[in-house]
Symmetry: C2
Subunit: 233 residues, 2 copies
DNA sequence: CGTTGAATTGAACACCATCAACGAATGTGG
DNA sequence: CCACATTCGTTGATGGTGTTCAATTCAACG
């Protein structure tokens, strides 16, 4: 992964610090919890492979997906300061994770300020994504929401190197999409269908292809920007 | 401010580091921009006094308020990694800010890892608030949204020590509320009115009092949790 | 071949947006 | 001091977007 231009280079010393910080790997099956919503996790993770997502549920079961997670994303910083109030993380595909013990987070900051800075970088980037999702849920109509989400996920997957001939793996069903953009399942279906019939995108057996990115960008009022390389912990 | 139990104690050395990090104060009038939405700010801030809020606008003018800022909040970390895409910050009252030059952020992390850790703490807490707002905009109905927002702002103000005899300063008009919870101005008004007539809360000339916190908590499915002391940069 | 979960579609309705109008409070200039 | 403009809160009427309910299709799988 580190070879990818999407990630910042890292010194040998930092790499060693990351190595000593980590505490093994973990594999989670599709549909299983990486972090239970009910209790704060004693671990942090870096996602190595697969798709996951963060979510919250209201007491009557309504669920909101907060953000999606791709390889390179750091999981669990928000919980460092949880006070009980937390969110769940669920694997959407089989997922492999690098495990870090939470109580080593401060020692890591202390001994490797650069890595602490990088973690802040990642946390800030994550918040910006939630910001965007909040704009979507609060101020966009159904068509705009779907267009925005499709472009968002497609771009991120492509950047994470998951594109193959224009297709990216898309392991989400319509309930996931509905929960991410704040619509009902039925209306999500109808909106998705309409965009598909307009020829803007295409699904095939868990893969997604964008046929008219400009149209989707314009519909969603959501345009790509150049991205800097991302730190990888 | 540091005397308040809401904030974590800080060592003399850290205090000196904060002092050397800072770069003066700034006062912004109510309704003026602290950070322009269009361009990334070369400065970071700690809010000393007053209310402010972060927001984003779509190209046709629809606005979404992302989160509210109170004394002690750290402003601008998200932008450290902006890539152009950013958000605005506007003062809701007269506001005084402590100014930090952005290019000293990394040196601060480097020389004072503890302060770096604290900044991450604040960034993570901020993201959790945006998470909550996203659940609101995505999955709550109008009544629940208003109830949740009122309790949220009231609690935060109280915690920041802004309560006087059960009243807290509330410098927002109904357009602000509508933009925060993703409703139209008119429907926000009607919902607010209904809750007021039920005797759940009361407004008076820019101040807010909660008359029935339990009812509002239950309506919004949004319950208070014990909070740990917050770092203050 | 029956079962299950997901996608799809139609119909009825509710919630919320939009439009329009008015009142109260405040400020401004003549 | 009054005429006028401006901003904000309020309310009613109307309609649309999206929800809810219900049923059907379809693919996958035992």
């Amino acid at each position: 992964m580190r070879a990818s231009p999407a990630f910042t280079p890292v010194s040998v010393e930092e790499l060693l610090a990351i190595q000593s910080f980590r505490h093994g790997e973990r594999v989670v099956e599709a549909g299983r919890a990486v972090i239970e919503e009910s209790r704060a996790s004693p671990q942090l993770f870096t996602l190595y492979s697969g798709w996951a997502f963060r979510f919250k549920t209201l007491s009557d079961g309504r669920r909101q997906i907060l953000s999606f997670l791709l390889p390179g994303d750091f999981i669990g910083v928000q919980d460092e300061f949880a006070d009980g109030q937390t969110h769940g993380v669920e694997a959407a595909t089989v997922v492999t994770l690098c495990v870090f013990p939470r109580d080593k987070l401060w020692p890591l900051f202390n001994s490797q300020p650069r890595l602490g800075y990088d973690i802040t970088w990642l946390a800030a980037r994550e918040e910006k994504m939630v910001d965007d999702n909040l704009v979507t849920a609060g101020r966009r109509n159904a068509t705009e929401r779907v267009a925005m989400l499709l472009m968002h996920l497609y771009r991120r997957a492509r950047r994470a190197g998951l594109e193959r001939d224009g297709w990216v793996e898309f392991p989400f069903n319509q309930q996931h999409i509905a929960d991410a953009i704040g619509l009902s399942l039925v209306h999500t279906n109808k909106t998705l269908r309409r965009l598909q019939q307009l020829g803007l995108h295409e699904f095939d057996n868990g893969w997604l292809r964008i046929l008219d990115p400009k149209a989707l960008e314009a519909l969603g009022d959501y345009f790509e920007r150049p991205l800097r390389p991302t730190p990888l912990i």
